[in-house]
Symmetry: C2
Subunit: 382 residues, 2 copies
């Protein structure tokens, strides 16, 4: 590891597991009698427990936000470029918590976990969970960790939805909500893309109605297609054009169905890689949580009324080339916050990186995060 990387890294980290035996009633009405949450923490919780930040992950994310598990680990956590000593989410000042959501496939209780009632993987019996369910589970983890009030809850995309939900459901328990590249609810087009991905998985003969673990199958074809499609929506048209254009692998048309254009090679590779490690049932469940998210629904479809529940201050950020959750989707949130007379900072950040920009390091984005969180740190005495 180079010295410079070392200096900025949280270093070697280890995940922990919290076991909860108090039943959790889900939005669907199903009761989960017990469950585990896998999480990681970086930095030190101060005496007043005022410097804690919760990082909520998106569709394919998890609790491993920063650092490495061992010195030879080939890649750090998924937000290592943002979280660490001296980084915008500064672990010298903040106590940062990453958690794998309920239903995930990275250590928290999910479809691939053993169902205590049967001794077999949950599979199709695992209940559908929602953003409010996740927030409830995260609130219990906060209690376990002695965090009465988060300095900030932060998330991009589906993670931003969790930050928003926190502000509505537990208004006193967070000072700031950072909602990045997100939306107040999915559009018909967003749902449509999710359904194609789900149908790819569900109609894969290796899916076996969700109980593929028992027959030692994996619906790789479906997962691969879902991820390929997802990737198209994560990148911008222009960004894809700049990076791949119509570049041919061999320089000449081959007149066949093997990889011809570099973009095909890239997408197929991403799909193959993903299908090697991600759980198909978790993918389904995460996309349903996205579809169902609609905090205004309980408030006569009035987002401003929903957000009037909140007392947090907000930072909302969008990226110019994001067409999955375009800037106008963030602006809907901002307008509702203004209407609800809530404190909000909004930034529309110039970027060619599309939806993926929330994971990247466009300078104005890094600067914004750094500036905003510096203020938060000062405020909470971190």
């Amino acid at each position: 590891m180079p010295m410079s990387d070392n200096q900025q890294s949280v270093g070697i980290v280890a995940a922990q597991t919290a076991v909860f035996d108090t039943p959790l009633t889900l939005a669907s009405g199903t009761v989960l009698s017990s469950y585990e949450l896998r999480y990681e923490t970086y930095g030190t919780l101060n005496a007043r427990a005022s410097n804690a930040i919760l990082i909520c992950h998106a569709l394919s994310g998890h609790h491993h936000v920063a650092g490495r598990y061992h010195a030879d680990d080939k890649a750090p956590g998924w937000w290592d470029n943002m979280v660490g000593p001296g980084k915008p989410i500064d672990t010298n000042r903040f106590f940062v918590v990453g958690v794998n959501n309920l239903g995930g496939c990275h250590g928290s209780t999910g479809p691939s976990s053993i169902n205590p009632d049967t001794g077999k993987p949950w599979g199709s019996a695992f209940p559908v969970v929602t953003v409010p369910d996740w927030v409830n589970a995260q609130a219990r983890l906060a209690e376990r960790l002695g965090i009465r009030r988060w300095a900030a809850v932060i998330g991009g995309s589906l993670g931003g939805m969790q930050a928003m939900q926190w502000s509505i459901d537990y208004p006193e328990r967070l000072a700031h909500a950072l909602v990045i590249a997100s939306a107040p609810k999915l559009s018909a087009q967003n749902i449509a893309f999710n359904d194609v991905a789900r149908q790819a998985i569900i109609t894969d003969p290796d899916f076996h109605g969700g109980d593929f673990y028992a027959v030692e199958a994996i619906p790789r074809r479906g997962l691969r297609l879902a991820r390929m499609l997802g990737h198209i929506t994560y990148l911008s048209d222009d960004g894809m054009g700049e990076k791949f254009g119509r570049m041919l692998r061999s320089g000449e048309y081959q007149f066949g169905y093997e990889v011809e254009f570099e973009i095909e090679s890239y997408l197929r590779y991403q799909g193959d890689k993903f299908s090697d490690y991600f759980d198909a049932n978790t993918y389904l469940l995460m996309t349903k949580a996205l579809d169902y998210f609609d905090p205004a629904r309980d408030f006569d479809d009035d987002l401003a009324v929903a957000l009037r529940q909140a007392s947090a201050r907000f930072m909302v950020a969008s990226f110019t080339s994001d067409w999955r959750f375009a800037p106008d989707r963030s602006q809907e949130i901002v307008k509702a916050l203004v209407e609800a007379d809530r404190d909000v900072v909004y930034a529309e950040i110039e970027s060619v990186h599309g939806h993926d920009a929330f994971l990247m390091t466009d300078q104005p984005y890094v600067d914004l995060m750094r500036a905003y969180l510096k203020r938060v740190a000062e405020e909470v005495g971190a």
Copy 2:
């Protein structure tokens, strides 16, 4: 059939077949020793054969452009709203030709046809065909029909690419090229969507490497996914939002994987219907023809130089909400035509119907087509 429909319809039509025994050399180098083209005609060719219009179809289209096959036919041809007596493409004045392209699955020689060399369906052995190949085959059909020069070659989307290619490859053989909702070449994102669709088909276990006919299988799952995905790109985000929004089928969240939102129901229905009748190999081949289309490629990537070959006059039209081939893609064509000092009329038409708008009847579109073709009719003495 109501009187008003009758008056505007070409009435009962029948398809014809033209058999070609002169070998056709394809862009890939493969030689097709013989082939058939299925086509229909409406109206009457005048004595000077100056009033003929060729309609080129898009990805899933065919030769059945207008009219019905029998009185009880539940639907007319795919462009019946534009082609007929008194309609914008007026069969009282023009002799209109629709043709199923080579590689199609509606009667022209394609992957599901019998390969004369083996006595079995071509399947995976059918060669990849390109837009220039189609235009060459259409040119032979024109000769067969005694049409030395088309009054116009017209097409939307992939059909517009054929109109453009005609103007470059056979400049003296058309007076007008109408290029609607098209693009001078696919972007990386366009190719990416095509590749996901192709991979859905190719990885369907029922595809059998393209030779599914022999085992009486149909890769329905793959075709269904391809069509669902295609449909998302045919509609606009706003149009989908207006039509479906987040409307629930049952009014309440079901917390499961059956149809929940109306948009899911719509897409799955479209996918199911399509997989019942469309040939999987034809779908692959059509998407490859799209990917390969790039007339500037033979002219140092300079579209203006390519279009300098043309002597036709052009009408180029785009639709505001089309994001598959957005207005700026049409503008690339227009700019190249202007640079090439060619005659071009361009219209960007306000529509909520996305890419599908080229098949719809937004009034400004109908008016534009009517006005342009009236002028063409007068010019050619139709």
